[in-house]
Symmetry: C2
Subunit: 148 residues, 2 copies
Amino acid sequence: MDDVKRATGLPATVVFRLGTLGSLAGERFAEKIEAYDLKLKHAGMMTALSLGPAISQQDLAAKMGVAPSLVVSLADHLEALGAIQRVRDPQDRRRQVLTLTEHGRELLGKCAAAARALDEEFTAALTPDQISALQQALGILTAQAGLP
Amino acid sequence: MDDVKRATGLPATVVFRLGTLGSLAGERFAEKIEAYDLKLKHAGMMTALSLGPAISQQDLAAKMGVAPSLVVSLADHLEALGAIQRVRDPQDRRRQVLTLTEHGRELLGKCAAAARALDEEFTAALTPDQISALQQALGILTAQAGLP
DNA sequence: CCATTATCATTCAGAGTCTGAACGATTCAG
DNA sequence: CTGAATCGTTCAGACTCTGAATGATAATGG
């Protein structure tokens, strides 16, 4: 119980390091996909669309943890790029059903390539064993948090 | 070379997972330290101050990767809380030298405690071995990136 | 010693991102 | 058929952060 003596150790925390490294990774990734006229949330949205069937903007907002009004502007941009398709649901004409287009899939593929390239930079100082251990741990955390 | 066939795999990327998990960790941590009237950057600033000797706002801005004008407002708030001390450097009276006060150290300790509590939630699904492997890998990435 | 130039902290306007409250259109419930 | 609920959209505004002034101080070079 010598908490008094022990250093605060905030930086030694997994949460703190996930935060700082995640912020850095996000910045770097954002720089890379800027070339495709995409922001981080655009990539997140395309990823969400790629993982499930066609989905309404409302549901997508919930899945992304974001306000529906934000989905509108993100979808506007992706639609202008030709990356997604907006179709009125015939069963419920209030709903706009979003689908990734072929061009959207290509774009997402380029994003993934950029991320893989960044991965190599990030993990350059790790041994193969450490990399797979990291991937495994992050995978479990991701699944547990219900993230894509 | 069957890249064509392979799924894009953005979500399987270390960078992507660091980004999403880091964002989540940041949100959760921000909620916890809200009780102390602190934002994420306040904790980052106090951490930076706790790791080195007294430092000017200019240098701190560089270390934090942030505009000097932002350091002003962050320091204003921390000073109002009594967490830091602003002293004019007698050798160079343009400089404001920042120091963590005793109360600041206590506050930072509470932040660290909050982070440790969050750590337990986050890593609940991991075995002890996986946790230490994760800590080791994150430690290496952190050091390589020159982060605290 | 003085004048110029550079550096520091600060202020302020504004860009960028995101939310929440409207609103019209559509659907659902009774 | 009427009222309530839901969808997408718009819009004002909160929040965070940056970059360009500004004034004070220091360094530099005649």
